[in-house]
């Protein structure tokens, strides 16, 4: 397997604070995948996204794009990397300059990467990209950002990424500021891009429902550490790590047979936790054992297509590979015809 992007033992620290701790993850270059990275605020999911995008460098370890260390690329390599790995950000309001028409944000990458030979070719590319995200070019171009809804602006950002025919889109909470009723459509479009254009997608989110619906695999982070990873059906369907269990049981489902329990879960944030070099979830864990405080649990493989870093599964084998993707299910759709 050739790898598209690989994080090799990546750690990011800010002073004494560890934002992300020793994450190894590789995504295949041959079968376009959809991978979710989930966790609460401060879990390190945005740090992971920013390192994948090359915005920040790891404190330890390496991020490799097609085998090349992102931190040590030549100018030409970096240019290619910047083109082929595209971000979609959370806030569909802040990313636009209010003084420019929508066209500007779409024309800039076409010019910068000399994607088109003529004005009309550029226009055709932009129109195609807009149609791919469900927008009508004639109703969209020429408008100012304030004339569009949050959902439409987020679609423009996806269209901008699509223009460059990237190999990877890293979408950091792309729908958390969009109405629930519009989320489904935007996510469905990401899925279509994955299937039709063969773009791999890393979907950063705290919403497990949409992660389950669109992604093949998921990685759950807690305070910088991978707590569970594997096929979404496994991790979300039958979570093993107590933190994943807490996350899944907290999803507000519009299903009265799956009501939140009446019991209140303890508020962990109010009191300073016992400092612990072990499992970061120990202070909140209902199953905490003495061993959890002093030792970081290894990646156990309690069943197929998942791993869980939790001592509850200490009788299960330890994963032979550091790569959390070793527990992933291969994406089940075939690679699409290569984009122009």
């Amino acid at each position: 397997m050739t790898t598209l992007i690989e994080m090799r033992g990546v750690t990011k620290t800010y002073g004494a604070f560890t934002a992300l701790n020793d994450v190894t993850l590789s995504l295949s270059d041959t079968s376009p995948s959809m991978t979710a990275v989930a966790g609460e605020s401060g879990s390190g999911k945005t740090t992971l996204a920013r390192m994948m995008l090359g915005f920040i460098n790891p404190s330890h370890g390496q991020v490799l794009y097609q085998g090349k260390d992102v931190a040590r690329m030549t100018g030409a390599e970096q240019r290619q990397f910047r083109r082929e790995v595209q971000p979609v950000f959370q806030d569909p309001f802040d990313v636009f300059n209010p003084f420019y028409r929508i066209d500007h944000v779409l024309e800039t990458p076409v010019k910068r990467y000399k994607l088109a030979d003529s004005e009309s070719a550029a226009r055709a590319m932009i129109e195609d990209a807009l149609k791919r995200v469900g927008l009508r070019p004639q109703d969209t171009l020429g408008r100012f950002p304030h004339e569009l809804s949050g959902g439409q602006r987020q679609r423009i950002m996806v269209a901008r990424a699509v223009l460059l025919r990237p190999k990877l889109i890293v979408a950091d909470e792309p729908v958390s500021m969009v109405d629930a009723s519009l989320r489904a459509t935007i996510l469905d479009e990401l899925k279509t891009l994955n299937r039709e254009l063969g773009i791999s997608i890393v979907y950063i989110t705290h919403d497990l429902t949409t992660a389950f619906q669109i992604c093949d695999n998921i990685l759950i982070l807690y305070r910088g550490n991978v707590s569970e990873a594997g096929a979404v059906e496994r991790v979300i369907g039958t979570p093993k790590h107590p933190y994943s269990q807490l996350l899944v049981s907290s999803i507000p489902l519009p299903d009265l047979s799956k009501a939140w329990g009446g019991e209140e879960i303890p508020v962990s944030e109010a009191s300073a936790a016992r400092p612990n070099p072990g499992c970061k979830f120990a202070p909140r864990c209902p199953h905490v054992m003495e061993m959890c405080w002093d030792n970081l649990p290894p990646k156990y493989v309690p069943d197929s297509e998942r791993l869980a870093t939790c001592f509850l599964y200490r009788d299960a084998p330890v994963s032979a590979s550091d790569d959390v993707a070793s527990a992933f299910r291969p994406p089940n759709h075939p690679i699409a015809a290569t984009a122009p």
Partner: protein, 344 residues
């Protein structure tokens, strides 16, 4: 969360209209809305961005600001119309009888005051005679009620996490034991686990006070987990209201059905369906039912005549021309991607 059916309503909203004056005429953000709430009842008001739900929340508190104005109707709290009160009466009523947990409570706290000072400020404004020791005890009690540690009283807002700030705002809102709590998307910026904690705290506080709650939001899942009664707003109108179970299991308005269906579950993977199109601009509502351009079941009458709320099942009313001819909502035709194309 039991609601005694025989209790008389604590909050009665009748024909409420809130308009924003614009160059193109008034935008009717709340358009002839009526509902009532009994003590202890939890009403969830759900709608998309621009459906008028935040305007509704501010109008219930009579906090509407220009260019918005209350253009008619009444909001009777325990028999007294908030919209007709003198400024003095209004000041006394807010917080004591009806309190707001604002959207993004994070930014509603004063950044340069310790939390206890802000809490005391609110209490003293209503009960000037209270002694410092009593106030301190009350602050501790309120913090405990929302699950915050006593030392949090001495902190500044920037020292608190998002969930803690939301709890702090809840502590202030309940400091005078109000009869009605209006919560405007209180968890919109929080993670699922913290969201659940905050909502459970709100539920427990409310049970303790016997207060009624109006919870405003756009997430049907969250509303379903919390409310006894669900009201659906569309383009400024209340288009359906009824008991939560009926609203989720047998919604009568096509829009409610689409809202419920737009939330994917975690059991089977399925095609994701959003709601086609966008809500209409409030200054330029389509003739007839405002939802008709997006409705998969719209027929000729819908484009001509505005439907009124009518009872469609016990305790459930919908504003839709399908009734009373139909006993239940007919199945919606499957949506194609072409349906989902948006017009800006």
């Amino acid at each position: 969360m039991s609601v005694a059916r025989d209790l008389k309503p604590i909050l009665v909203v009748e024909g409420l209209n809130v308009h924003y004056d614009t160059g193109k005429g008034p935008a009717k953000a709340v358009n002839d809305v009526s509902f009532s709430l009994r003590p202890g009842e939890r009403l969830g008001l759900i709608g998309e961005s621009g459906s008028g739900k935040t305007t509704m929340a501010t109008a219930l508190m009579r906090l509407t600001r220009a260019p918005g104005r209350i253009a008619g109707g009444s909001v009777e709290l325990d028999g007294r119309d908030i919209l007709k009160m003198s400024t003095k009466e209004l000041r006394e009523t807010r917080l004591r009888d009806i309190a707001l947990i604002p959207q993004g409570a994070m930014s509603s706290l004063n950044p340069v005051m310790r939390l206890e000072e802000q809490m005391i400020d609110a209490i003293v404004a209503h009960k000037p005679g209270m002694k410092r020791a009593e106030l301190d005890a009350r602050v501790q009690e309120l913090l405990k009620n929302v699950g915050l540690a006593p030392e949090v009283a001495r902190r500044y807002p920037h020292e608190l996490s998002g969930g803690m700030k939301q709890r702090a705002a809840m502590a202030i809102a309940t400091s005078l034991s109000p009869k009605v709590i209006v919560a405007d998307e209180p968890t919109s910026a929080l993670d699922v686990v913290v969201q659940r904690q905050v909502m459970q705290t709100l539920g427990r506080l409310q049970d303790g006070l016997g207060a009624a709650v109006v919870l405003i939001g756009h997430d049907m899942g969250l509303i379903a987990q919390f409310a006894d009664t669900v009201g659906v707003m569309y383009a400024g109108k209340l288009v359906e209201i009824g008991p939560v179970r009926q609203m989720i299991e047998s919604p009568k308005h096509p829009y409610t059905r689409l809202l419920v269906d737009s939330l994917p579950g975690i059991e089977v993977k399925r095609e994701l369906t959003g709601i086609p199109g966008l809500p209409p601009p409030l200054v330029d509502l389509p003739p007839g039912c405002s939802f008709n351009p997006r409705c998969p079941l719209a027929f000729e009458r819908c484009r001509r005549e505005t439907p009124l709320l009518q009872q469609v099942a016990p305790g459930q009313s919908a504003a839709c021309h399908l009734y009373p001819e139909h006993a239940a909502l007919p199945p919606l035709p499957p949506m194609t991607r072409a349906h989902q194309e948006l017009r800006p």
